[in-house]
């Protein structure tokens, strides 16, 4: 009897502390840094869009594949850096996440979003695309979107890294990165990222690269900027 009521009390206290966590702690912490590689990454190849002239003519120089996009000083682009643990539960952001099919490319190549957030998919091209996100945890669907058709409104309820492809234009590849946080960033060509607006505390930060997978680091954030860098080992194939 005594043990039980003690346990109950402990449980209640836990719940209470969770509820209490929403109270205003100044969210001024920032995690920023750069993502780089060591080793030799594969050479990105030019994409031949000759089969789709309306797209080919939009690119005076050929578009390159993007599975390992690099910059000067061994930086890695298109890496998603996000808080994978330690974030307090938050409301699903109300702003719409936009994804474009333009020049037979996906823009952006890697698109992070919060689970449940509205995703709007546009076809800006003069050709049909079929948008086919190869989800495994979430339902897999495949929709035709001819030139000039209305944007597709959708959302994903569960966190997942979802490869996206167009079967008509097999060179089109991208990713939907569905996260249970809105503290995320995608590295630019200089490999840099910044996660802003974090309350002080301990976090797990993850960096995901489509070919090299995920790395994590434990980070303690104060009220200012905390530096974190990630280094992936690149293989030439």
């Amino acid at each position: 009897m005594k043990t039980k009521s003690l346990l109950l009390l402990a449980g209640l206290a836990l719940v209470a502390s969770k509820v209490g966590a929403g109270s205003p702690a100044p969210a001024t912490g920032t995690i920023s840094g750069r993502v780089t590689y060591t080793g030799t990454p594969p050479k990105m190849k030019p994409i031949d869009m000759a089969k789709e002239p309306s797209c080919a003519k939009q690119h005076p120089t050929p578009v390159m594949t993007e599975n390992v996009a690099t910059g000067a000083d061994n930086t890695l682009q298109h890496v998603v850096v996000y808080i994978s643990a330690g974030d307090t539960a938050e409301a699903i952001p109300t702003q719409v996440v936009r994804y474009d099919q333009k020049g037979c490319q996906y823009l952006p190549h890697v698109l992070p979003m919060h689970a449940g957030q509205v995703l709007q998919i546009f076809n800006d091209d003069q050709t049909s695309h079929n948008i086919h996100p190869l989800a495994k945890v979430n339902p897999e669907w495949n929709k035709s979107q001819p030139a000039g058709s209305a944007p597709i409104d959708t959302k994903y309820d569960k966190p997942e890294f979802i490869p996206v492809k167009c079967n008509i234009h097999p060179w089109m590849h991208g990713y939907f990165v569905v996260l249970s946080t809105s503290h995320y960033a995608v590295t630019g060509q200089d490999g840099s990222f910044s996660l802003k607006g974090l309350p002080a505390g301990k976090y797990t930060v993850s960096a995901w690269q489509e070919q090299y997978g995920t790395q994590t680091q434990e980070v303690t954030v104060g009220t200012g900027e905390t530096k974190v860098n990630f280094t992936f080992k690149a293989l030439p194939y």
Partner: protein
Amino acid sequence: MTKKSVLVTFALGIATVFIADSPANFAQESHVGNLAGNASSGKQLYRRFCIGCHGPEGDGNGENAQWIDPKPRDFTAATFKCRSTPTGTLPTDQDLDHAIQRGFVTTNMPSWNPLTPQQRADLVAYIKTFSPRWTGEKPGTPINIPPETAVTIQSILHGRELFQKMECWKCHGPAGHGDGPSASTLTDSKDNPIRPYNFSTGSRFKCGETNQDLYRIFITGVDGTPMPSFADVIQPNDAWDLVHFLRTLQGLRTPEADMWKKYAAEHATEIKPIGPNAGGGR
């Protein structure tokens, strides 16, 4: 005593969590017409008839799978080709029953018409135990198919315009022979090569043979394959026009093909080719 009861409560809690996560608690029933299917009866039938290709785990990795193309369905993914429901949603029990009864032409899946309706309903119930989606989700709402419009040359011509505009020819080819410019690059959702349907091979499709079936295929899409859903981009009457045109691509004599041949003979100079050089259509 008190400690013991706490422990028991704790153990019960764990057991509940465990049961909730184990396949044993996934959907156990199916309803096909007036029949209720039972998964434990279905399991016996599955082990006798289905396991060789679809595998003991239902993941499509049975011992015959390596010799089979296209690969047997992976029931753990709960992605199904032939549905009456929108793309990305679960099929109805009736859809699964139809698939078992009909079989899939151009694949190794035979028709299981010799099984009794009760046996098929039991199999449907068992197939649904392989994915947790069947406990958390309901099947999609079947699409509405309006009554078929009249087969006229106007309908066929409009269907032909849609075939060009929707770029069906990119995979299925200008004459529907499955030889469009993207055809050779197609893969299914497991990265296995897959061919687009060749309309000249007959009158049956993977998901049926009637005009309603044909309508349903391109509106719902064939999930797990490159064939997308056109539900958002083709209006119902336009969809019937496309059905009528598709029937002209078949090798068999169809009323549509006769009508088209007659028209084509009389208007040879007016007919624009389908494909990249068609000009309009966009």
